[in-house]
Subunit: 154 residues, 2 copies
């Protein structure tokens, strides 16, 4: 009986951490899939759905624009963008990394943004975006920092 | 004897994870201090020291410039910048966040970059930078992603 208890305790002491061990590769793939879903959502023009990927206190940073913090400001930016004639945006994640604890991660993404010039001709700008993510209380990845640069000077 | 062993194993099973528990607040302060040290190093023009803060495979991203990956490319960029007449850069971290596992973190920083215009007059540009960090094998924070935007359009 004591021997069995000893073995049980030994197993517990050796595996005590394993329940909280995270499969970071799987989390990285999940994060890339969230990014792809978000890109598809961006083309569907459902503003509630688009905005749901950001955390409540997310930072959004872009060249020549004041930093935006929080969902209300981000929603206003998304609404404004959606009114630009010919506006379209899409992206693909190219690299993901998740912390050992699985509560923080980041993506490097390439994006394409199109809009019409005054004559109605489509202009397309390409760029690189870095997004940082945290798991919310329900275990869903939410974007906390979103910062991008364009390939060409403005 | 067996009782003592049982107690030891019980203690081990209950505390097995605590050795790896991280003080994230302390790590966040450490990360901000590394950022401040790096800013002081940037003004001292010691290129080896400046470059030592980036990891070997770090990404450096800035508006209108191709993405740079790896230390050789980053060193070339730092050398080139140091030759710009009147070039100066400094920054202050304004927010830090570290994962529960203490192996990944990020900073939001405000920076000031100065250089001389063709007439020799100083131009100063301010901006926001996001830096992502990972602990290396020796437990030192190294920058893995460095991306910034300026307040004013180029």
């Amino acid at each position: 009986m004591l021997n069995k208890l000893l073995i049980l305790l030994l197993v517990a002491s050796l595996t005590g951490c394993s329940a909280s061990r995270i499969n970071t590769k799987a989390e990285e793939e999940k994060l890339m899939e969230v990014s792809r879903e978000w890109s598809r959502a961006a083309s569907a023009q459902d503003i509630d759905h688009i905005v749901s990927y950001w955390s409540d206190s997310a930072f959004f940073l872009s060249q020549g624009q004041p930093a935006i913090q929080g969902k209300a400001g981000i929603r206003a930016m998304v609404e404004q963008s959606s009114k630009i004639p010919g506006f379209k945006i899409s992206w693909e994640p190219i690299r993901a990394s998740v912390s050992k604890s699985g509560d923080m991660g980041y993506l490097i993404e390439r994006n394409q943004m199109s809009m019409n010039d005054p004559s109605g001709k489509t202009i397309t700008i390409q760029g690189t975006v870095v997004t940082i993510w945290k798991k919310d209380a329900s275990g869903n990845w939410k974007n906390v920092v979103d910062i991008g640069v364009h390939d060409l000077p403005n």
